[in-house]
């Protein structure tokens, strides 16, 4: 409605005509509080504070498969597991290691799947969140639709603050992402906290040490 546009802009202009305008405001860097320890350890602690589960950083394939097998044993994740196509190189080896599970590369339609494995683009220590973006290798829904989601995060991509993480994503040319801090939750009924409303009830973070991630 271009008439509305003209009307709104004219109205704003006339309202601002006699206002003395504020100058440009610098970005304010506040003192973000941190716990002690290495950045990997802090990421684990903070992610778990949000109600997710985080395994100790993984150094090699043996660590990864051991962790996945204990995870599959702990949680009732069902037979079928959707994996992001960024993890295609793992597909064959996952199928060999876990013959009772059915892994498939997601295609954006995963509503029948109970568990998914996807890539987290960055981690943020400040609030224990991860950033997940979507592109041709990973759909928007893989990180949210199933009841169990496992996120793989390169330890190199863990940042102290939101400011640093957002800048890093922008520098990589990523324009859309979701910041995830734990399982989907609500307190809409008598303020009782319930997890797994529309998104996952269980979210697990697997931090892969930089060398291993690059090798993989």
């Amino acid at each position: 409605m271009s008439a509305d546009k003209e009307r709104i802009l004219a109205s704003i202009e006339s309202s601002l005509a006699h206002i003395s305008k504020t100058d440009f405001v610098e970005v304010f860097r506040q003192n973000v509080p941190f716990s002690d320890g290495s950045i990997l350890f802090k990421m684990k602690i903070e992610w778990e504070r949000n109600g997710g589960y985080c395994y100790d950083p993984l150094k090699n394939f043996d660590d990864l498969f051991f962790t996945l097998s204990s995870h599959f044993g702990t949680y009732p994740i069902g037979e079928t597991i959707a994996i992001s196509s960024a993890l295609k190189p793992f597909e064959t080896i996952l199928k060999q290691r876990f013959p009772h599970k059915r892994f498939f590369i997601e295609n954006g339609l995963i509503d029948q799947v109970n568990c998914s494995i996807c890539i987290a683009t960055a981690g943020i220590v400040e609030n224990g969140t991860i950033l997940v973006h979507w592109d041709s290798t990973q759909s928007r829904s893989i990180a949210v639709l199933p009841e169990h989601v496992i996120y793989l995060l390169n330890s190199k991509n863990i940042y102290e603050t939101m400011d640093d993480a957002f800048n890093a994503l922008r520098l990589k040319g990523i324009s859309g992402w979701v910041m995830i801090g734990g399982p989907s939750r609500t307190a809409d009924i008598e303020k009782v906290l319930v997890t797994g409303v529309h998104g996952p009830k269980f979210v697990s973070l697997l931090i892969l040490e930089e060398e291993f991630y690059d090798r993989a």
């Binding site: 409605m1 271009s2 509305d4 546009k5 009307r7 709104i8 802009l9 109205s11 704003i12 202009e13 006339s14 309202s15 601002l16 206002i19 504020t22 100058d23 440009f24 405001v25 970005v27 304010f28 506040q30 003192n31 973000v32 509080p33 949000n50 954006g108 339609l109 609030n127 969140t129 592109d135 041709s136 759909s139 928007r140 829904s141 949210v144 639709l145 939101m162 400011d163 957002f166 324009s175 859309g176 979701v178 910041m179 995830i180 801090g181 734990g182 399982p183 989907s184 939750r185 609500t186 809409d188 009924i189 008598e190 303020k191 009782v192 319930v194 797994g196 409303v197 529309h198 998104g199």
Partner: protein
């Protein structure tokens, strides 16, 4: 004005709320919890006050440069492939949404929580035009089933207890009766998941719109925004024009403050940064994103030097949680989509003082709202300004008040009559006149007669006191 809005019935609806024991219990529990977790969460920062100052300056910058920033935002959206529409008022916004939906034959709509869509009464409009609209936030879904508006900015169903919700699901949805919040949530998840998968379009609000990148940011905890903006082929985001931020780099500050002020969390579970529709090689996502920039009197509010700062609001709801009036009257008493102190200030500006002249009096002026506001909206001063304007407009004052003040003025400017009257009142009060003030003392300490009038006390001063 829309018949579904009734701010001038505040006193009546608030009185009903006070007599509703279920509501009082639900409000007491919810408000106490919200205030406690917010107070704990802000202690994370030693420089919370400086953060508030910075947030105030950044939001004020938006208001002062709104015309330029809107154009910059639009330009960046268009570059990203997002379609931008301007809507002068509620009707224009509804019509624009109708046009977008009908051009794609979209009939099934999923919606995520948005106070701006409540403001334009979008659900009512869409339903009367044959669309099937489902609210997907759990609280909103509950109030939609009850055919009620939300009663809080961040907790739409806080006025209800689990039994009422269990009855509702059992009767309206024919689901097995349970009062367990976990089970009730599961029931809603199952039903709503189907709605998401079959929806033609998703409608959301916007928390922040970044002028320098064209990104829109929407925060939530349930994952319903994520699904509303990912699964259907069309995503429509309704955004008040004041939601613009000049720079994306300001976001971390606001995300830290908004989550803590709203729900006492250090961050919301999902913060969605959306910038462009589905690209040809992408696996899912909306093929079209439309942002509707809604004015609905905001551009005129900008002009009012004394009240314009109410547009700084980021809708965290913290001022509601601390307000002694809201904590008793609940959100429905305000009769409009915005409630609590911020509702009392912006509703008269949005729909006209004559249509909401009781709301500025829905405050004890304790100033708690101004103290908690993360962007320093001067709510107490604005409530006083509105009261002053109402007092200046004779037509807005009840006739009893006008006559009462005339008599009072005459009495107090006539010395002999004043003496006589205080004497008579003192005399009458000995014979039970205080009973007349019973309505006053229903919720307050009873009035007591002073043993001596002021004049008598004045005469009895000791030498030293003189």
């Amino acid at each position: 004005m829309n018949a579904n809005f009734y701010p001038n019935r505040f006193s009546k609806v608030a009185k009903e709320a006070l007599d509703n024991a279920d509501l009082q219990n639900a409000l007491t529990k919810a408000m106490h919890h919200s205030q406690m977790v917010r107070n704990q969460a802000v202690q994370d920062f030693s420089d919370w006050e400086e953060m508030r100052n910075a947030a105030y300056r950044i939001r004020k910058y938006t208001l002062d440069h709104l015309d330029e920033l809107l154009l910059q935002f639009e330009e960046n959206c268009v570059r990203n492939g997002v379609q931008v529409h301007y809507a002068w008022d509620a009707q224009s916004a509804c019509q624009t949404i109708h046009l977008i939906l009908s051009s794609k034959s979209a009939k099934r709509i999923v919606k995520s929580k948005s106070m701006t869509t409540e403001e334009i009464h979008l659900n009512h409009f869409l339903e009367s035009n044959g669309y099937e609209v489902v609210e997907t936030d759990l609280g909103e879904y509950i109030v939609q089933l009850r055919n009620e508006p939300p009663s809080h900015i961040t907790g739409p169903a806080i006025h209800l207890n689990r039994k009422q919700i269990a009855d509702l699901f059992h009767q309206k949805l024919q689901l097995p009766y349970t009062e367990d919040p976990e089970e009730l949530t599961k029931q809603a998840r199952t039903i709503l998941r189907q709605r998401f998968l079959t929806a033609d379009a998703g409608i959301s609000g916007v928390n922040f719109a970044c002028a320098d990148s064209g990104k829109i940011v929407i925060i939530e905890n349930e994952g319903n925004v994520r699904l509303t903006t990912s699964l259907p082929n069309i995503h429509i985001a309704l955004c008040g024009i004041e939601k613009i931020l000049a720079k994306e780099q300001y976001l971390p500050l606001f995300l830290r403050m908004l989550a803590r002020s709203a729900t006492g969390q250090r961050i919301n579970v999902y913060t969605n940064f959306l910038s462009r529709p589905r690209q040809p090689n992408e696996l899912d996502g909306p093929k079209e994103i439309h942002v509707i920039l809604l004015d609905n009197n905001r551009s005129k509010m900008l002009k009012d030097i004394e009240l314009r700062e109410s547009l700084l609001c980021i809708r965290c709801g913290a001022c509601l949680n601390v307000c002694p009036i809201y904590r008793r009257a609940g959100g429905h008493a305000y009769g409009y989509s915005y409630m609590g102190p911020i509702g009392a200030v912006i509703t008269p500006q949005l729909i006209g003082l004559q249509n909401a002249h009781l709301l500025p009096y829905a405050s004890t002026l304790c100033t708690a709202c101004g103290d908690v506001c993360p962007v320093k909206v001067p709510l107490p001063q604005q409530l006083l300004t509105l009261r002053q304007r109402i007092a200046e407009q004779a037509s807005l004052r009840p006739w009893l008040e006008k006559v009462g003040f005339k008599i009072w003025k005459w009495m107090f400017s006539n010395n002999a009559f004043y003496v006589l009257l205080t004497y008579l009142l003192g005399f009458a009060s000995k014979f039970g006149m205080m009973k007349l003030f019973k309505p006053w003392s229903t919720y307050r300490a009873p009035l007591r007669r002073a043993p001596l009038t002021f004049r008598q006390q004045w005469k009895k001063r000791t030498y030293h006191e003189r």
